[in-house]
């Protein structure tokens, strides 16, 4: 699992949503925030992460997430998964 795989998974998963919001997949840069942008609400975000946990067979420790981490951005998600590996 690497950053590219993570991004691909997300883009595939959010295909419909991105179309709905007229967001091109190459607009999803490292600092793109999935929640702040309004693309996902917090519940949908958690559901996506849960799906990724299953897909990559990794368990995230949500207790350790810090409010200032910006974990709802693409790079934040990367860090979450790559650190947990």
């Amino acid at each position: 699992m690497n950053a590219a795989e993570i991004k691909n998974y997300i883009i595939e998963n959010l295909k419909d949503k991105l179309k709905q919001f007229e967001i091109n997949s190459n607009e999803i840069k490292k600092d793109f925030d999935f929640v702040q942008s309004g693309l996902l609400d917090s519940m949908a975000f958690v559901e996506m992460i849960a799906g990724m946990e299953q897909h990559f067979n990794i368990e995230i420790d949500f207790e350790k997430i810090d409010e200032d981490d910006g974990f709802t951005t693409l790079s934040g998600i990367n860090e979450l998964f790559l650190k947990a590996k």
Partner: protein
Amino acid sequence: MGLINSLYLYSKYISLSMFQKERGFVFRDFSYLISSFPKSINKYSAKGKKEATENAVNWLLHSQKMMKDQGFGSYHIINKWSSSYPETSGYIIPTLIEFGEKTNNQTIIEKAISAADWLIKIQKESGGWQGGRVEDDNPEIVFNTGQIIRGLLAVYNLNKEKKYLNSAIKAADWLCSVQSDEGFWKKNALMNRERVYDSYVDVPLILVYLLSSEKKYLVAARKNLDWIINKKQKPNGWFEDCDNTIKNNDRPILHTISYTIDGLLDSGIILDDNKLIEAAEKPAKVLLEKFQKDGFLNGRFNSKWEGSEYMLLTGCAQIAIVWMKLYKIGKGKEYLKAAKMMNSILVTIQKRSKNESLDTKGALSGSFPIWGRYEPFAFPNWATKYFIDSLMLENNFTLTEKDRHKILIKRFESAVAQYPNRSALEVSGKSFSYFELNTFSDNIANCIIENSEKECKMAAVLGAKSLETYAAVLGILKASKAYVPLNPRFPIARTINMIKKSGVDTIILSHESLGYLKEILLKSDFSLKIILPNVEDAAEFISCFQACKFYLKSDLKNSENPIINSTAKDIAYLLFTSGSTGEPKAVAVSNFNVTSYLDFISENYDLTENDRFSQTFDLTFDLSVHDMFVCWQSGGCLVIPEKDSSFFMSKYIKNNKVSVWFSVPSLAVMMSKMRLLKTDAFPALKYSFFCGEPFFINTALDWQKAASKSKVINLYGPSETTIAISNCELKNENNPQKNGVFSIGKVFPTQEYCIINDKIEVLQSGEKGELCFRGSQVINGYFNDPESTDRSFIQIPGKGNKMWYKTGDLIIEETGNLFYLGRLDSEVKVGGFRVNLQEIDYIIMKSSGSEFVASVSFSKANDGVNKLYSFVCPAKNSTILESGIISSCKEKLPWYMIPEKVFIIEKMPLNKNGKIDKRELIEKYLK
């Protein structure tokens, strides 16, 4: 000669009075004087004043009983009872009717009517009535005739019997016929002298005009009023020709000064004439300032407003009435304060020993001390009449203990009194004590009171969860208005609609919502009062919006505790919920409704000043009212989440030692998905309330594991029944459930419910049907929306005349517990928010031009987490795209109403009845 004569009379009275059984007054008033009365006066409670009112009314009734006719007389310590005074009997009638109606006492009302019947009997051929006492047989006098009209109209307004109106009209005709061309009355005036206190005749003339539509009465009144303010009032507010003698016109008595002012004021209020109101306020204000300074009022005032003689008690009561009327029209609360103080003084003077004779018990003397120059040693019935009027008027502004308990803001104020130094609010890392929060909200309240229109019963608060927002909620309630929460996350168009519908003229917000406010103002033509409690400079912003008035931090200086005159039935807050016609419905919850809920919570759960309460709900959601006011009525601390992000709720609970939790079940589901509900994760939690959507039993058990010492309670209730109306506590085992959903339990025993079918027949336990409520928590209807009200508020045959609220919730009752099965209409719950699917359909239809639109809510994982999906079958040749539909939804609908996905489909499946088959849509597209 006059001096010797009066000296003779005085010595005679004083010595004679010593032999009377009432000599106690003389001693008592003497002892009051040497004890520096009235500065040592204690304020009377509402209860003490109520008792004083009752005693005074009983004396008036006694003074009628002692007469040969049905009029009212006066009592003199030495000369005993006089005969009836037609004039004062006239204006005593409205006093007794008002008291009788307020206390539901028909006997008193009948006594008042009997006096009116007697007055009609003694009306002169001309239409007027004699002056003085009935035994004197004087000619008709203008002033006295006017006062009798007041009594006749009061009876006419009560029973609509024509004879009373006819008699009043006959009298008014006579008044017009004897008026001089200049506008005053000289002929048929006391001692044939024109008098300014005939303004007190102008009011009954105007009232006759309003009932008869005959303009000449208004013309006559207007002419007299103009003569008074243009010819007879000095620049300092003092009046010429104001005494009821000729020789003392240079220093008239307070009694007739007050008549004059009251007449001008009432006329000004009825005719909406500011010039008259100003003419009344000027002298009233001088007298107010004198009273504030000295603690009493003299009986006479010369043209420099220098006082002389002892207190003239009828005048004191009359001026207190004037002050309260001025307070009522918004002239400042110092008027009310002074009037209350004056009434306390009068109650002290009235109050006497228990075994007093009926001839004096409850009566007010003419003067204080009793040997004062005005009506010495006497109890004129008009003094007692105005005393009662003044007390009844004060009572309109006074809340009894029971009423007070039913006013939402009083819950907060009691905690301020009890726990001034405890923390009331923790927000952005800062703690604010009850005292501090109270002071800040008083500042805001005074700014609202001083600037918002009195008639405007609501004010809006726009903002995030900041100190200013909470202080604004309190401030609005302290200004005796209802608060309307607005949400900066809502689309502008929706918020503009809410502002319009509620009719607010004032918005309070903190700096972070300024950008949002700007958009509102750009897209509307509102001329609002905008209060920015934490903004120091906004000159640039302000210059863009000339139509609005802005009040900044520096304008919020007055931290006096405002007088609250809300009543239990006044609205406390106004919220908007999704409506089927594309128009949000406004739910108006009264003080009575919300305090009934708060009473139930405080009686059934052990919440104290040591508790720390969560605040997860937006202010636009009525469950936030529970957060704030359950906390504040307990004296506890409301802890605001640092970042309003649902990801960190577990940290928020732990770090802040939250002891009382309240949220939608979705939050618990999310925390469970994040594996944050570890065993004993929240040891400080004592109560966990959940409300707003179906609560799955597994989620409840997960929560219980993490909050092992907490009671877990499922609450249920639509906004229309105020926050929640049924509850169910989680137990270790055998929890009532259906399809995995926890029961909503039992309806609060303080409220009534029933389940009906579509024929409005009441069903038995075990049958599915629509849940209906009535009781102290149930609102009376939607705000300014009779159509929606008629749809949802109904009578149920066999269940009395009172209205029931139809929830639209499909419910079954089994083994004493209620189970929520779904909705009967197109309303669904998404994350706890009420969403009417037809409202989404309506928006999509408008933007797509398609007639075939259907929205559904569906939980793919069957865990109660609903999402919205819309289906559109586009019109021919339409090239509508999903993205276009979504963006038009975003313009009109709040975030939680935006569909998760819009399916553009070729054919809409229809069922046998030709309706859109939603089940088919879910099967085909969502499973």
